[in-house]
């Protein structure tokens, strides 16, 4: 009964948000009919668009998962943007250096490096929080802003490919690039890696001792201390995993699609990941559909922009609207309460 109500609510929310999108298109387009049609059907109209949509959802799944892990420990990791970007840079550099190593080993090492890099950065905020009670929300965010500049510096300076027309690193060994699934689209086997990671973490969070300790710490910090849980370590570890997964999000995208690091390629992955996690209500498994839905809006707008006069930014507006409506859990609560009060008098 509750489940049904919950899914109805999500459905209604999505419909309202899509209606807002339709409205935005209608108001700004000279040919709203065509624009709307492409918006909704575009992503499914060809293997190319469909594959690209799924490819776009891959990093979002991971950043969504990253947010929800930190949040389970009641920690806000707002530094995803920087962790994604930094993890990718470190991974790319190692990939570049490992040129001669067999691909399978190289890929594992590269992913481990990005995981450690992103995780290490996030763990700093976790450490500051545990040690001196420095607000992790702000510290991770500020560190992230700083990191983005640092990474930009490398891409425009020491690690820039002089031959590239834009700020980007040199390509690493082509053999490291993950095999594609649905040519000519960008979809790559990274999606299976990501699904496996999500399932793994979903089990860890629900059924494993570490996950249980994280949840106890998140729900009741004082109790966790009484239960003998090393709360400081748990918070740091949760931040580490969160940041590590963010690092993977950046690297898998590079390994699957770009083959090198490009300045600003991941802008928005972190923020959208937070949105995805909130829509998924911090449930690791629900992160999957939430990320795909987000990617659908984006590619719908992209396709629509190709064939009509709307701009791709319309997707962002709809995404924000969905986010807005889903997070406003008070909305239905409020309506229900009103109804109950009426029923009483």
């Amino acid at each position: 009964m509750k489940k049904l109500e919950e899914s109805m609510r999500v459905l209604i929310t999505i419909i309202i948000a899509l209606m807002i999108g339709v409205l935005a298109i209608t108001l700004t387009s000279k040919e709203p009919g065509i624009a709307i049609k492409y918006f909704f059907t575009g992503p499914f109209s060809s293997a190319y668009f469909f594959g690209n949509m799924l490819a776009a959802s891959i990093p979002l799944m991971l950043t969504g998962l990253a947010t929800s892990i930190a949040f389970s420990a009641s920690a806000f990791n707002l530094g995803l943007e920087g962790q994604v970007y930094f993890g990718a840079l470190c991974g790319t550099y190692v990939a570049y250096e490992l040129n001669a190593v067999p691909p399978i080993i190289a890929i594992i090492v590269v992913l481990a490096v990005s995981f450690a890099a992103g995780g290490g950065i996030a763990a700093i905020s976790g450490y500051l929080k545990s040690k001196w009670n420095v607000d992790e929300l702000i510290s991770s965010l500020l560190v992230s802003y700083t990191l983005i500049y640092i990474v930009d510096f490398f891409l425009e300076g020491p690690f820039k490919d002089p031959a590239a027309g834009l700020a980007a690193s040199p390509y690493f060994n082509k053999k490291f690039v993950l095999p594609k699934i649905l040519l000519p689209s960008d979809l790559h086997i990274g999606i299976f890696i990501v699904l496996a990671i999500i399932i793994l973490f979903s089990i860890i969070m629900k059924r494993n001792k570490f996950g249980y300790e994280v949840r106890i710490t998140g729900k009741n910090f004082r109790f966790a201390k009484y239960a003998g849980i090393p709360v400081k370590k748990v918070v740091i570890m949760a931040m580490f995993f969160s940041g590590g997964i963010a690092g993977l999000a950046g690297m898998i995208d590079i390994l699957g699609i770009h083959g090198r690091m490009i300045r600003g390629y991941s802008a928005g992955y972190g923020w959208n990941g937070i949105a995805v996690a909130l829509i998924a209500r911090n449930n690791p498994l629900l992160v999957i559909p939430a990320a795909i839905f987000f990617a659908f809006l984006q590619s719908g707008a992209n396709v629509s922009a190709l064939f009509s006069d709307v701009t791709p930014e319309v997707a962002r507006i709809i995404q924000a609207a969905v986010f807005y409506l889903v997070t406003a859990e008070g909305l239905l609560f409020f309506l229900k309460k009103k109804r109950m009060e009426k029923g009483q008098t």
Partner: protein
């Protein structure tokens, strides 16, 4: 006698069909102290919230000095000169006493607060009622007793004539309670009327003019004090005279089962709560009661024993083994269980189901896991067992802990801790805020454990509880044990505790 307040058939039902008040009619005479007693959940607080305008009754009328009163908000209650002193202080810690008192009814001078007038006015009221407080002190800096005075002053500042006290004694030391009752008498002398909510029979018998008993949302009756005895009141409250306590058995002094602390020192959050040279010994099958006013080191003591705070000096020994260096989990493994002082904040995950709460604190145990994941069926078994053995209502392991009543939450904690057969149990205020029935249940369980040979450290502010259960009693004051003795006769022990609770002067100056 004239009625200051008259209630006529007050009925209030909460969503979900819980009847909090059913057809309650009541007269409170001008100038009397009228007590309302009843167990937790009897509907006292709901009734008081209705009188103070915080809740609207579904049915019924309220008359104040003969006039029908429509109370739809706290402001209305104020305009009818009804004031309420809340059980949990509604005070802002960082504000001054004066700021808290005038909040919402500020006297202004231009745009500013007229601080001089306000302070002067508060001083005037406080001297009249014998409640000296400094209007410029910050709430966070004053002791509990004074905070309560601020609550009373808040009500008086608003010119209340009918004052409701919701369980005012639950946070006070015996000394402070005496002082409160003095204030009560001064209030009555100045023409005020008092509604006193309590579940402590002794206090009610001491101070009231008349006593109304509520049970399960209904009025059982109103007695004159002269007609009331603790026996007939208790009978009216719970409908059952029995207060069965299992026979206590003697403990043994086997060395390898003892719990012992030697010359322990540890830093608390304040100087008064830092431990200074504490030594205690609990034999197997013995209950040691620690008496003391809140904030005198009890919390530090517990946290040091379970391993959250490292001691700066001294030894903690259990079963002949020093525990100082052990982690909290290793200590639990040695057989230490704890019923924490705040069951909601330290004992349970309110938003998690009963089943998950049954594991808490023991989540490290290997037997719960198979291949690194929970053995669901095993955990299901354990939780079913705890729920049925401790008669937790509703008997559903998927209920959220937050949805259990206070008594059932405490049973859940007790069940979880006792399931692991602790050899040493720390029970901090185990019956805090519980009704008589649950209290008796918990007390019996503790004695049962004791009789089985468990060492029990009982920390409480409730002298009845301490003297009824303990074999030995120690009084803690400013982080020191200033008196300890064998509890033979409860009345004598109470007097001895009462003296020690205030500390001894020449020892205070000794502390650094």
């Amino acid at each position: 006698m004239k009625a200051a307040l008259r209630l006529e058939s007050i009925t209030k039902t909460f969503p979900g069909g819980i009847i909090a008040n059913h057809d309650i009619s009541l007269e409170v005479y001008e100038g009397e102290i009228h007590s309302i007693i009843g167990e937790n959940g009897a509907g006292k607080t709901t009734l008081m919230k209705i009188i103070s305008g915080l809740l609207k009754p579904d049915k019924g009328k309220i008359y104040v000095y003969g006039r029908e009163a429509k109370l739809s908000g706290p402001l209305d209650a104020i305009s009818y000169k009804i004031g309420m002193v809340h059980q949990h202080f509604v005070l802002i810690p960082r504000f001054t006493v004066a700021e808290n008192i005038v909040l919402g009814m500020e006297k202004k001078k231009g745009l500013n607060l007229d601080k001089e007038w306000i302070n002067e006015h508060i001083r005037k009221i406080s001297t009249r009622y014998g409640m000296e407080v400094d209007p410029t002190a910050r709430i966070e800096e004053i002791p509990v007793g004074e905070k309560q005075k601020v609550e009373i002053l808040k009500v008086l500042y608003r010119n209340a004539n009918i004052i409701i006290f919701d369980e005012p004694t639950s946070v006070l030391s015996p000394e402070e309670i005496k002082e409160l009752f003095k204030i009560f008498r001064l209030l009555i002398k100045n023409g005020k009327t008092i509604l006193f909510i309590s579940h402590k029979l002794k206090e009610v018998l001491e101070i009231s003019d008349r006593i109304t008993v509520l049970r399960k949302g209904m009025k059982v009756g109103t007695l004159l004090r002269t007609e009331a005895t603790s026996n007939n009141l208790a009978e009216m409250m719970i409908g059952n005279k029995q207060r069965l306590i299992i026979q206590k058995e003697k403990g043994s002094s086997e060395k390898d089962k003892q719990f012992q602390i030697e010359d322990l020192e540890a830093k608390g959050s304040t100087l008064a709560s830092s431990l200074k040279n504490i030594s205690i010994k609990i034999n197997s099958g013995e209950i040691l009661g620690i008496a003391g006013v809140e904030g005198n080191g009890q919390e530090t003591l517990v946290n040091t024993i379970i391993g959250i705070i490292p001691p700066s000096k001294g030894r903690i020994i259990f079963k002949g083994r020093e525990m100082n260096k052990l982690t909290p989990i290793e200590r639990r493994e040695m057989g230490i269980g704890i019923i924490p002082s705040d069951r909601q904040k330290e004992g349970l995950l309110l938003r998690a189901p009963v089943k998950e709460n049954c594991l808490l604190g023991y989540q490290y145990k290997k037997e719960y896991y198979r291949f690194g994941t929970f053995k669901e069926d095993y955990i299901y078994e354990i939780s079913r067992k705890i729920v049925s053995e401790y008669d937790i209502q509703p008997p559903n392991i998927y209920t959220k802990a937050a949805d259990l009543s206070g008594g059932n939450q405490q049973r859940l904690i007790l069940g979880r801790e006792l399931y692991h057969n602790p050899e040493f149990l720390i029970a901090v205020r185990p019956t805090r805020g519980l009704d008589l029935k649950s209290t008796i249940y918990i007390h019996n369980k503790l004695i049962e454990m004791k009789n089985k040979g468990t060492c029990i450290l009982l920390i409480s502010y409730d002298l009845d509880e301490l003297t009824e259960l303990s074999d030995k009693i120690a009084v803690i004051y400013e982080g020191k044990i200033i008196d300890s003795f064998i509890n033979t006769e409860s009345e004598k022990s109470k007097i001895r505790i009462g003296v020690a609770l205030g500390g001894v002067k020449y020892e205070i100056t000794e502390t650094k």
